[in-house]
């Protein structure tokens, strides 16, 4: 018999949560499949099955604790990271978003142009008495009368139509002609209409009583995989970077998504527009991260030493206030600093009585970034240095004092090396963190001032990650996700090398 015990509420909760998860999956998977998202549908099923198995099994104890986190990790960190790696090898960018089939459809349907000189014909707008749909009743130069509808076109027998004295159509059997006022009333709808003219051509209303004949200028030959311009005879062939290109080098927009091999990496290395700023950005990234760690560490270390005196009663209060910058929301403090650096009326220029262009001069902007990071980063270093100094064995220092070592010798030969030794892993982590400290740059200077030669894509204070962001989302020519991912890839490689070095130093891998 089932008995109610203290465990029962938990079992009920478990059944409820598993039930909710399973119902959600059963609901979501068919929708995902119908939209062609097979990877996601597959992952949903996989995750649900794994969770069901682990939580209903009596044995998989460790799994119960770790599986939910691991599944989320795979979905939202590992998969995006791998996907970033994949995008780096594609041409994914503005103008290369669609797949090939859709891109060619768009190209063809965008290619309609008004046919040469004799393309404007007299016509009346009418509604079909049976269906109520709008039609154009068009008088072709040949005297033929065409009824253009959304889906089809037909020739109207001459006898169904009566003409007015000026030669325009006066009435048509089966149709109700619209007056000028009526046309004005629905002009929004009418101006959007392209109605069939037969032979892959269309009529479009350009004025009251006049339509224009639009003809297709591009034609796709699926067998040969080429596009021909029917007007000029120019032939476009697909290149290996997802575009249709003519022999003279003219590219049709839009192109489609395709893999482009190492093209993005090649561009970073070989293309002058990217290489020159890239070298500059990368150099500054290394210098920036190094200087930030160096200055904040020394400021924090000296401050920690200064305040770490047993007789200093106020040190608790001092410490609480000194870590305020660390507790301030970083986004807001970066923006606040931006206001303080303002050239015309910023508080900093007011205090030192100058008109220094803090954010628009390359050198001053770099100084501004470093000063701000000194402010933002010192509290953290102060905290960890305080911890490390308090952990120093006092015996070593006392022994040195007994041996007659001077205070400066104790500082340089004992305290500094010991603290440095114990903090090395954290300093390397801090270096890696600052290497991609996006907020520090993007919110303060926006990467600016611009490097003129880069065409405005890179700035003098841009670090690799802010440069990547600009490539992906704000570059003038549209978003180049492929190139941005390639740069991300490089960024990750550098951070990984630094971090692996750091973990080697801290030996955490061996201890696990």
């Amino acid at each position: 018999m089932l008995k109610w015990t203290h465990k029962s509420p938990w079992i009920l909760l478990k059944i409820f949560l598993l039930g909710a998860l399973n119902s959600f999956t059963i609901w979501a998977v068919p929708i995902l499949i119908s939209n062609g998202s097979y990877v996601f549908a597959g992952y949903f099923i996989f995750a649900t099955v794994v969770i069901d198995y682990v939580f209903l099994s009596k044995k998989r104890v460790a799994g119960k604790y770790i599986i939910p986190g691991v599944l989320l990790l795979i979905a939202f960190t590992i998969y995006p990271a791998l996907f970033t790696g994949y995008i780096a090898f594609t041409n994914y960018s503005t103008g290369h978003i669609l797949n090939k089939e859709t891109a060619i459809e768009v190209l063809i349907s965008n290619s309609y142009q008004s046919a040469a000189d004799d393309s404007a014909y007299p016509a009346r707008v009418a509604t079909d008495n049976l269906t109520g749909e709008y039609v154009f009743i068009v008088q072709r130069p040949t005297g033929e009368i065409t009824v253009a509808r959304k889906e089809s076109s037909a020739t109207l027998p001459r006898s169904d139509v009566t003409l007015a004295e000026d030669g325009t159509i006066d009435s048509a059997i089966g149709f109700k002609l619209l007056s000028e006022d009526e046309i004005f009333a629905v002009s929004d709808v009418l101006s959007e209409l392209s109605l069939q003219a037969g032979n892959d051509e269309f009529f479009k209303l350009v004025d009251i009583g006049i339509v224009e004949r639009l003809i297709k200028t591009l034609e796709y030959d699926a067998e040969k995989d080429i596009i021909t311009n029917t007007q000029t005879g120019e032939i476009y062939r697909p290149n290996d970077r997802g575009s249709m290109v003519s022999d003279s080098g003219e590219e049709l927009e839009p192109g489609w998504q395709s893999t482009v091999g190492l093209y993005n990496f090649q561009r970073v290395i070989e293309d002058e527009r990217y290489r020159a700023p890239m070298v500059q950005v990368l150099t500054w990234t290394f210098i920036f991260a190094f200087l930030v760690v160096l200055t904040t560490f020394f400021a924090g270390f000296l401050l920690a030493l200064t305040l770490n005196h047993p007789k200093l009663k106020a040190k608790r209060i001092y410490r609480s206030i000194l870590i305020v910058p660390y507790a301030m929301p970083g986004v807001l403090s970066m923006l606040t600093w931006r206001g303080m650096y303002n050239e015309d009326n910023g508080i900093i220029n007011r205090i030192i009585g100058s008109e220094l262009p803090w954010l628009s001069d390359p050198t001053l902007a770099k100084a501004a970034v470093l000063i701000t990071q000194l402010w933002a980063g010192t509290p953290y270093m102060f905290l960890i240095c305080t911890g490390a100094i308090q952990a120093l064995s006092s015996e070593v220092i006392e022994a040195a004092q007994v041996d007659g070592a001077s205070p400066s010798k104790i500082f340089w030969k004992i305290k500094l090396p010991l603290v440095l030794y114990s903090l090395t892993p954290l300093l390397i982590a801090s270096y890696a963190y600052n290497f991609s400290n996006f907020n520090a740059i993007f919110l303060l200077t926006g990467g600016g001032p611009q490097i003129i030669e880069s065409g405005g894509i890179a700035g003098h204070t841009d670090i690799l990650i802010s440069y990547t962001y600009r490539l992906a989302f704000t570059a003038g020519k549209g978003n180049d996700y492929g190139l941005a991912s390639a740069v991300s890839f490089l960024n990750f490689a550098i951070i990984a090398i630094i971090s692996v070095y750091g973990f080697r130093k801290s030996k955490s891998v061996e201890n696990m």
């Binding site: 989320l72 998969y79 508080i347 402010w375």
Partner: protein, 301 residues
């Protein structure tokens, strides 16, 4: 009498000069550092009370002190400050708790159980924490665009989507810090509980978690601050809908000063000052845990 008085005075003088040499300069350094640390905050406060509000604060104590800037941010339907505040706090709090829960569970498994794939998981966590989610913002954007076709409620503009995405990063630094802390709790404690017939869940909830409370507090605090500060993912995921009600404080307030010509520093300063309050309070409240939590990594490895 006089001699005693003289002695006392003499001793006091000596203490003063000694005090200057030993402690006085320390106070000076501290006060100088504190003024540097608080400088932006003071400026923010001053700018927020400056009625003119056209430019950044002119003087430390502005000529026209008033609450105009606060009124401006409270009554602007295009910049719904309180909704941003609510969004930011809800997302950050939910994320902080989720990070803590996922991190604690995973760390318990990694610290106490020896299972197949443990070493692989640990190595994965090591590598993953080097890879900022920020770097894969493009990929996450594409991922959400695809989900948007099927389940629009779990996509752009959805706080839930943002929270779930952040939760994907829970098994990173946090799990690493927590596992380090769990490792320092002697296994004898759970062994003896096991002998007494305690289940793995009882050991986790009744023994390990209470002992790890300081570390859990640190994770909650750091995740909370981290989410409040997150800018790029939030602005991409919540910003694309174009609905100001979807934004958070960090992304929303940034728009006050984003314009080339229309930089509203006064309202921004007012909003930023109020936005800093919850984080600062939480921080001061949990301060002693933070110091030990941060240095744990250094001393314990």
């Amino acid at each position: 009498m006089t001699t005693i008085e003289q002695v006392i005075v003499k001793e006091k003088r000596m203490t003063t000069s000694r005090w200057l040499r030993v402690l006085g300069w320390r106070h000076l350094v501290a006060i100088f550092s504190i003024s540097f640390a608080l400088f932006p905050l003071v400026w923010m406060a001053s700018a927020s009370f400056d009625q003119l509000g056209l430019v950044s604060a002119q003087k430390l104590i502005p000529d026209n002190i008033g609450l105009d800037n606060y009124r401006k941010i409270f009554n602007n339907p295009e910049a719904p400050y309180f909704i941003w505040y609510r969004n930011a706090v809800v997302i950050s709090l939910a994320n902080a708790l989720l990070q803590m829960a996922i991190g604690a569970c995973a760390s318990y498994a990694l610290s106490r159980f020896r299972f197949q794939g443990r070493k692989v998981t640990l190595l994965t966590i090591l590598v993953v924490q080097m890879f900022p989610q920020l770097l894969s913002v493009t990929a996450l954007f594409v991922l959400l665009a695809e989900i948007n076709q099927s389940i629009p409620t779990l996509s752009f503009g959805s706080p839930l989507a943002l929270i779930i995405i952040f939760a994907g990063g829970a098994l990173g630094v946090n799990a690493w810090i927590l596992k380090g802390f769990f490792d320092t709790i002697p296994t004898e404690i759970d062994e003896s509980a096991k002998v007494d017939g305690a289940s793995h869940a009882q050991i986790f909830f009744k023994i390990i978690l209470p002992l790890a409370l300081p570390a859990l507090a640190v994770i909650v605090l750091l995740s909370f601050i981290g989410t409040m500060n997150e800018f790029v993912l939030t602005s991409v995921i919540m910003g694309v809908t174009g609905d100001p009600n979807d934004l958070t404080l960090a992304v929303g307030l940034q728009r006050f000063i984003d314009g080339q010509y229309d930089q509203q520093w006064g309202p921004f300063a007012a909003g930023a000052l109020l936005a800093a309050i919850p984080v600062m309070l939480l921080f001061l409240f949990l301060q002693k845990y933070v110091v030990s939590g941060l240095t744990a990594g250094a001393t314990k490895g």
